[in-house]
Each structure stands twice: as C-alpha cells, then as structure tokens.
C-alpha cells in the first residue's frame, strides 16, 4: 500500500501511466521528423509541440499547411480532432472540479488521452481519495507523458530519422487506445457504450470535421447511461 502523501500518489500515477512511454517515444520522434521535413525549424517545431501537446492535431495541422490550406481550415480541422478533449474535461469534473483554479488550469494544459483514461479509472476504483491525492495522481499520469512527448519531438527533429514503414508503426496508435479502453470495459453498460461508439464511429465516418466521432460518443454515453438506469430498475 502506498503512503498517503501527494508525492507517493504522484509516483503511483507515473507508474500507472509509464507503459504508454512505449507509444509516446516513437510518435514524439515521428512528429519531430515530420515537422522538420515539412520545413519547420527547431524553434517552430518545439513551440508547436509544447503549446499544443496533442499528437493527432499536430500531424493534421502540419499536413494541411503543407497542402497550403487556408489558416481557418487548418485550425478548424485540428480543433475538430481535439474536440474529444472537451468530453474528457467534462468527464473529469466530478473528480477534479473542486480543485483550486490554478490547479485546474495546469491540469487542463496537460490533459492528454492517457492521463484522462488512467486517472479516471483510478478515481472510479478508489472514490475515497482526497482532492490533493487525486491532483497529485493526475499530475503523475500527465506530466511525464507530456514531457516525453516534447523531449522525443526534439530528438526526432534533431536526429531526423523516422521508424521505417515496415514496422507498421501506424498500428501502435489503435493498440494504445485499445490498451486504454479495454480495462474500462468492466460492466454491461460499459460494453454497450463501447459497442455503440464503434458502430457509430464507423457508420458516421462520412461526417465532416471528425464530428462523426463526437456524435457517436454522445450516442454511446446515452446508451451506457440508459443501460445502467434499466439495470438498476431491473427492467433489462
């Protein structure tokens, strides 16, 4: 059993999120390589990776700018890719909403997929955690991952060699999200939500601005909540 001071919760968060170093290292490196190949200098590449800390949106913005897309299109597309983070933000409110304002600013800046999923799972498993313990745990999941993202973007930009396509690195991204969501499938409502999410995202793949994912996610949340309500009433 870990201690009860914030430092031990920070370390626990770091430990629970550390497997995702396997994903962040190759993708951070890839971003650095892609950014330099697209014509960004070191300062520009690092400014982007440090201000944005969101891989998918960064890759999207770079590729659209290379195609000389208008600024508004670049921004709107990248924001659409990041829109899921508004849902993460909402998902964390029941657990971290009462933290002091400056801590919420800091936690929002570092809100990445891995930190959200790992922290939420912990907070739901252990509802008795105090606010400082939750904040310390969350920072432990988020800051090391975000820092490694920045560090390996730098290494990629300087070294400039990506992992060759034979290694099918593209598949590391879905595998990462499978590793994040499979352990969350711990009850029937969670399964129903996951299934609706998959079917919805595939069926709505044609919707522009990545909004198909957002619609599918809202439908999936409703499906999960409704299944839970019926199970509690004993109707289902």
């Amino acid at each position: 059993m870990p201690g009860t001071n914030p430092k031990s919760f920070f370390l626990a968060g770091f430990r629970d999120c550390s497997p995702f170093i396997l994903i962040v290292v190759p993708f951070g490196t890839l971003f650095g390589v892609v950014a330099v190949e697209a014509g960004l200098d070191l300062i520009e590449a690092m400014a982007m990776t440090m201000l944005v800390i969101a891989g998918a949106a960064q890759f999207t913005a770079i590729s659209l700018m290379q195609e000389q897309a208008p600024v508004a299109i670049v921004l709107l597309t990248a924001f659409a890719v990041n829109f899921r983070m508004a849902m993460y933000s909402a998902g964390l409110v029941p657990h971290l909403g009462r933290a002091p304002g400056w801590q919420r600013v800091l936690m929002s800046y570092f809100l990445v997929d891995q930190a959200f999923a790992v922290s939420l799972a912990k907070f739901e498993r252990e509802p008795a955690l105090t606010m400082p313990q939750k904040v310390a745990y969350y920072i432990g999941t988020a800051v090391p991952i975000a820092s490694l993202w920045v560090l390996f973007s730098l290494i990629g930009a300087v070294v400039g060699r990506a992992i060759p396509p034979e290694y099918s690195l593209d598949f590391a991204l879905p595998v990462c999200f499978i590793a994040l969501s499979a352990p969350a499938m711990r009850s029937l409502p969670h399964f129903v939500a996951g299934l609706v999410s998959v079917i919805g995202a595939l069926a709505l793949g044609w919707v522009p601005w990545s909004m198909g994912l957002i619609i599918a996610a809202l439908l999936a949340m409703m499906a999960g909540a409704e299944t839970e309500r019926r199970l509690k009433r004993g109707v289902a």
């Binding site: 995702f20 396997l22 994903i23 014509g39 960004l40 520009e44 982007m48 201000l51 944005v52 800390i53 949106a57 290379q66 600024v71 921004l75 829109f83 983070m85 508004a86 849902m87 993460y88 933000s89 909402a90 998902g91 964390l92 409110v93 909403g97 304002g101 919420r104 600013v105 936690m107 929002s108 800046y109 809100l111 999923a117 939420l120 099918s168 593209d170 598949f171 991204l173 879905p174 595998v175 999200f177 499978i178 590793a179 969501s181 499979a182 352990p183 969350a184 409502p189 969670h190 996951g194 999410s197 998959v198 919805g200 994912l213 996610a217 809202l218 999936a220 409703m222 999960g224 909540a225």
Partner: protein, 109 residues
C-alpha cells in the same frame, strides 16, 4: 514545404490557445458546482464512449493500406482487445497487439 512563416506562427499560437480552451472548458467553467445525477451517469461513460470510436476507423480503414481493410490489423486488434480485457495489462496489450500484427502479416503474406 511550409514556407510562409507568418501563417505557421499564427497556426501554432492559435492552435495552442484553442486546444487549451477545449481542455479547460468544462473543468474550468463548471468547476466545483454540483452536477445533476443524470449528467453524472452519462459522464461515467466518457472514456468508453470516445476511445473505441477513435480506434475503430484506424483499424478498419488503416491509412497505411490506403484505407483498405487489412486482415492482419483486424485480427491483431481483436487479439489486443482480448488481452486487454483478460489481463488489464497495458504493456501486455501493446506488446501482444504489435506481436499479433507482425505474426499475421507474416502468416498471411
């Protein structure tokens, strides 16, 4: 090549600010206010509602094959999911999923 550095800096700064505001949205504005039970019930499913939908198109229509469904990727995703459910191990899921992909790429080549 991206040659227009003014545009680039506009994108970098606005994308940074906008992404922060998306992340801060609910956590910042709702903060410590109490949420109604029906909303809390929906929010419990945020993770499982977003992430599977994020994965599915990447697995079914991978960019690496030009968006054509690819048997090794589909099989490997199912194996990774099974490992994830069974073991709840992140490292096991990632390594198992990538190993399954390489194995079926070799077997089905």
């Amino acid at each position: 090549m991206i040659t227009d550095k003014t545009t680039l800096w506009i994108v970098i700064v606005l994308l940074g600010i906008g992404t922060f505001l998306i992340r801060f949205s609910f956590l910042g504005l709702i903060g410590g206010r109490d949420l109604p039970p029906w909303l809390l019930r929906h929010l419990r499913y945020t993770a499982v509602a977003v992430m599977p939908g994020l994965i599915a198109p990447l697995v079914v229509w991978p960019a690496a094959t030009g968006g054509i469904p690819d048997a090794p990727r589909l099989i490997a995703a199912l194996i990774a999911f099974a490992i994830g459910i069974g073991t709840r191990s992140v490292v096991g899921t990632i390594i198992g999923g990538m190993a399954a992909l390489y194995l079926f790429q070799y077997l089905l080549a």
